[in-house]
């Protein structure tokens, strides 16, 4: 990202409200712990396996368990979660959960009020990016985070572009460990 903005932004470069890049698991865990009502939205990309054979959905489940975060299942992830012994806290498709989240009066998954942090994990990048754009523009009451292996500028917090899956998995494992530590 360029650190220098042109003086006359109106003619050249405007509208670059981009995600804060998270490089440390501890920082990431800090944002999650700080949230009062976080939500984890899981997508179908988590149905794939990593090279070491571990199902990506395992990371999502471990993460949700570590910080007692409710899970929203999108697309066909519900079936897999149930098969893995986890009943999702709610079932919406990606655009439906974004549509609900942008309403500040929505009661949220636990009926305790809308969430203050939503983490997206495993949604295709075109759809995910557009959903994050919706929330960036229309949900000022909400912080967004992505846990996928690429940078998503429309999020409030995003991981970096991981060149190697192993590094990303390492990050996720560290994040889970950080969350297990508690406050």
């Amino acid at each position: 990202m360029s650190a220098v903005l042109p003086r006359h932004r109106v003619n050249i470069l405007t509208g670059t409200k981009s995600a804060r890049l998270i490089e440390e698991a501890a920082e990431c865990a800090g944002y999650i712990k700080k949230a009062k009502r976080p939500l984890l939205v899981v997508g179908p990309l988590l149905l794939g396996s990593s090279p070491d054979g571990k199902l990506l959905m395992d990371y999502a489940i471990d993460l949700a368990k570590a910080a007692s975060i409710p899970i929203c299942a999108t697309a066909q992830t519900r079936g897999k979660l149930v098969e893995m012994g986890v009943q999702p806290d709610c079932v919406y498709d990606a655009v439906e959960i974004v549509n609900a989240l942008k309403d500040p009066d929505w009661k949220g998954v636990k009926k305790e009020g809308n969430h203050d942090l939503v983490m997206f994990f495993g949604i295709r990048s075109d759809l995910g990016s557009q959903g994050l754009s919706t929330l960036k523009h229309f949900a000022p009451h909400l912080k967004t985070m992505t846990l996928c292996k690429h940078y998503f500028p429309h999020a409030s917090y995003s991981l970096t572009n991981f060149r190697k899956d192993a590094k990303w998995q390492e990050f996720l494992e560290s994040l889970i460990e950080e969350l297990k530590k508690g406050d």
């Binding site: 932004r9 109106v10 003619n11 050249i12 470069l13 405007t14 509208g15 670059t16 409200k17 997508g43 179908p44 299942a73 999108t74 697309a75 066909q76 519900r78 079936g79 897999k80 979660l81 149930v82 098969e83 079932v91 498709d93 990606a94 655009v95 439906e96 974004v98 549509n99 609900a100 309403d103 949604i123 295709r124 990048s125 075109d126 759809l127 557009q130 959903g131 754009s133 919706t134 960036k136 523009h137 229309f138 000022p140 060149r163």
Partner: protein, 769 residues
């Protein structure tokens, strides 16, 4: 005041003259040739339940010299516009581009055909079609009898497009909802323009009509005899390709020259000659050009690559631009002597625009015959491909620029090891844009490599058949509105699919469940590009009749109007509701009683935006693929929180049904697996009989189980009104579930309608047939 009334009266008088209001085929309804505000209250009623959902594709507005304006964080632009209204404005502009593309296609075709046949050429769509133009009758209030009458429809569309485009100018409309109403207006106009275009083509070119069993035509580049001179026709407008076929017929050259089409011109051409070949959808265009099989490429309009001249030059193919919409900066040779053009094209490799279809056709054939023997049409062999693939160092740049997020490099590196399976799969998912090859730092010839993977497989597609017959509507009208035919699934449009196989899978899934499946455009081709275990495509496997379990190809993009037209025909022919200038009643009927769903799984274009938005105004929900979130706007409800009240027209009472049917009007699904049960769910209508509802829920549950898993659908209880709605096969399980969550039965609504729930000039009795 008196002056205003006088003006209104004169306007109405003029309008009645144009639509020949005195002809008593039906009384003229409340909104013939509606202006922008005339259906606004209907739109606002739709938008109350199906609120616009915006996903800005860009944070800025860059349309005027006040800007760029940053619209993030609640900021307004220099003109005062906010981010939501800007999105709605962009959507309207997209719809206007789409609508204009079809209407201009219609205007051009009409000009050509009126020149050929005269304006009084009768519209005759055969003995099985009496409601020849349901959209024109409904929207315009005119029963078109001649080609000249279609011009009235096109003129109306252009007048409205002008008004709508005017509203996009900086510093005008300030309401996102009003922009949405205008987009819905543009969408409705689009279906009028498409209908005029396709009726003109059917009448003027003698396309099949009043017949279901149209010929099966060859598809795939393996079907093309590469030893013959080959002409590729590309785009959407058949004015030139029909002349090309005529020229070949007149000169007895049909056996000597291959004619192949890509995108909708392929469908149009095979409606004219079943000897023409379909290369495939838009996603195959660049592949085919780079394969060098075509000796001559003739472009017309829409969905043709803007770099066609450059790509053709790479393989030594000739190019003729045949329509003024895309002239590529080429010299206009329309007035030049034919033999001179041929000589310059063959000897010098020059490319020309030729806007006279007859001349373009003659030049194309002559050039193809002369050029073909001089060109090499050799493909890479597999061992050569393996060698070339070794250049790839898996840097991943191709993935970064792929609109379908594909990691092409993975396929190439496997190919370098001799395994062609991964690249074959990628080829099926590839949109054919060419960005990967452009980006590759090592200049790997990705397209050439994919050609090897693609192979020479051939398939069958049924050629387009135009409108659904009145006789078919009479047969299926009752079961559709009662719900015993569980739905009409229209799988339409472009080829920006997450995976091409999805289309054939969807067709097969719903046809075998006895839905009626209707296809158009690139989806109609792709549906045929997968074979079952017996080697059959869906066109060979299922009936071509508009009936339960039928798979019907209506034709190209403009034939989409016949799908929505069929929904109007159900209201008019089956339910006997008058359609003339009566759009609101038609749309209300379709929304509440016709279980039709559009699936634009690969939508990419502005035309798809306008077609889909036109479906929405008519009350037909549309399911889109994941990338379609880039259209910026969906129409979504929130099922447990929105108002699902309707008027029971028989009792004249507003009833809070609590039933979200249909749940959304424009919806994006991330995966085929999610789309399958969603499509089934969106077919549910409040009008369903218990038997019909049970059938629909049976499919919803079973598709949910098959593709999602994890038990019953979480929102099932919202769609069960009484015990009789529960499908027999799931009775025990569903009853237990409903009891557990405290479900209470409720009475179905006798005659559900929105009329009477919002300010409208329409009387409630208007919806009672």
């Amino acid at each position: 005041m008196a002056v205003a009334e006088k003006k209104l009266s004169r306007k109405l008088e003029e309008l009645h003259k144009r639509i020949r209001a005195d002809l008593p085929w039906e009384p003229v309804g409340p909104t013939p040739m509606p202006d922008i505000p005339d259906l606004r209250s209907w739109d606002m009623r739709l938008l109350k339940t199906y609120k616009p959902f915006y996903a800005p594709f860009c944070d800025l507005c860059c349309l005027c010299t006040y800007g760029k304006c940053d619209l993030t964080g609640g900021k307004r632009g220099a003109c005062g516009i906010d981010i939501a209204t800007q999105q709605a404005r962009m959507v309207l502009m997209a719809c206007l581009m789409g609508c204009s593309a079809h209407a201009a296609h219609g205007a051009h075709i009409l000009e050509v055909l009126i020149e050929k046949h005269g304006p009084d050429k009768k519209i005759d769509l055969g003995e099985s079609i009496t409601i020849e133009a349901p959209h024109i009758r409904t929207v315009i209030g005119l029963k078109p009898e001649t080609l000249g009458d279609l011009q009235i429809a096109i003129d109306y569309v252009f007048k409205e497009v002008g008004h709508l485009l005017d509203s996009c100018h900086t510093g005008q409309e300030g309401s996102a909802l009003d922009y949405e109403s205008k987009a819905l207006h543009a969408g409705m106009l689009d279906h009028v323009g498409m209908e005029a275009a396709d009726i003109a083509q059917i009448v003027g070119f003698g396309y099949p009509t009043s017949v279901a069993d149209t010929p099966l035509v060859d598809m795939g580049w393996g079907a093309i005899d590469k030893s013959k001179p080959t002409i590729l026709v590309s785009g959407h407008n058949p004015a030139t390709s029909t002349e090309l076929i005529d020229y070949l017929r007149e000169h007895k050259l049909e056996d000597a020259v291959e004619v192949a089409g890509v995108c909708c011109t392929a469908l149009e051409t095979t409606r004219y000659s079943d000897r023409a070949k379909i290369v495939g959808p838009l996603s195959r265009q660049l592949f085919f050009m780079r394969a060098g099989i075509a000796d001559v490429i003739m472009t017309d309009e829409q969905c043709i690559r803007t770099d066609t001249p450059q790509e053709a030059a790479k393989t030594g193919a000739a190019v003729i631009a045949c329509l003024d919409k895309a002239m590529y900066g080429l010299e206009d040779a329309t007035e030049m002597v034919t033999d001179d053009i041929v000589k310059r094209m063959v000897d010098n490799g020059e490319q020309f625009a030729i806007l006279d279809s007859k001349k373009a056709a003659e030049v194309a054939v002559k050039v193809a015959i002369e050029l073909a023997p001089k060109r090499r049409k050799e493909w890479l062999t597999e061992p050569e491909a393996v060698e070339l693939a070794k250049k790839c160092n898996a840097c991943g740049m191709c993935e970064q620029v792929c609109p379908n997020l594909l990691c092409i490099g993975d396929g190439i590196t496997e190919m370098a090891k001799g395994d062609f399976a991964p690249i074959r799969k990628l080829f099926n998912e590839c949109l054919g844009c060419g960005k990967c090859e452009q980006e590759c730092p090592r200049d790997v010839a990705i397209f050439k490599l994919m050609q090897v993977a693609a192979g020479n497989e051939t398939w069958k597609a049924r050629s387009g058949r135009g409108p659904i017959m009145d006789t078919e509507i009479r047969t299926v009208g009752a079961p559709i509105t009662l719900g015993t035919i569980p739905g009409v699934i229209a799988i339409v449009g472009c080829s920006n699919f997450p995976d091409m196989d999805d289309i054939a899978d969807m067709v097969d899934e719903f046809a075998k469940r006895k839905y009626i499946v209707v296809l158009s455009g690139c989806s109609a081709m792709v549906a045929g590009m997968k074979k079952d275990a017996d080697g059959k495509t869906v066109y060979e496997k299922y009936s071509p009749v508009f009936e339960a379990g039928g798979v019907v190809n209506v034709g190209s993009c403009v034939a989409n109007s016949h799908i929505t037209g069929a929904a109007i025909k159900i209201a008019n022919i089956f339910a006997a509701l008058p359609l003339r200038g009566n759009y609101e009643v038609m749309a209300d009927y379709v929304l509440n009683r016709v279980g039709a769903v559009g699936v634009a799984w690969g939508a990419y274009s502005q035309k798809a935006a306008s077609i889909g938005t036109g479906c929405n105004r008519l009350g037909i929900p549309v399911v889109l693929g994941p990338h379609a979130s880039k259209y910026r706007r969906l129409y979504l409800s929130r099922k447990e929180e929105d108002d699902w009240s309707v008027m029971d027209a028989r009792k004249k009472e507003i009833v809070d049904t609590g039933e979200p049917s249909p749940e959304h009007l424009a919806y994006v699904c991330e995966t085929k697996e999610k789309a399958m049960p969603m499509i089934a769910k969106l077919c549910i209508r409040k009008n369903d009989t218990p038997q019909g509802r049970a059938i629909k829920l049976n499919h919803y549950i079973s598709l949910h189980r098959k593709y999602i898993g994890g038990g019953l659908p979480e929102d099932l209880h919202l769609f069960v009104r009484r015990d009789a709605d529960i499908p027999l096969v799931y009775k025990k399980e569903v009853r237990a579930h409903l009891q557990e969550i405290g479900w209470q039965p409720r009475e179905p609504v006798g005659l559900p309608t929105y009329i009477g729930t919002y300010p409208s000039k329409i009387a409630i009795d208007s919806v009672i047939h």
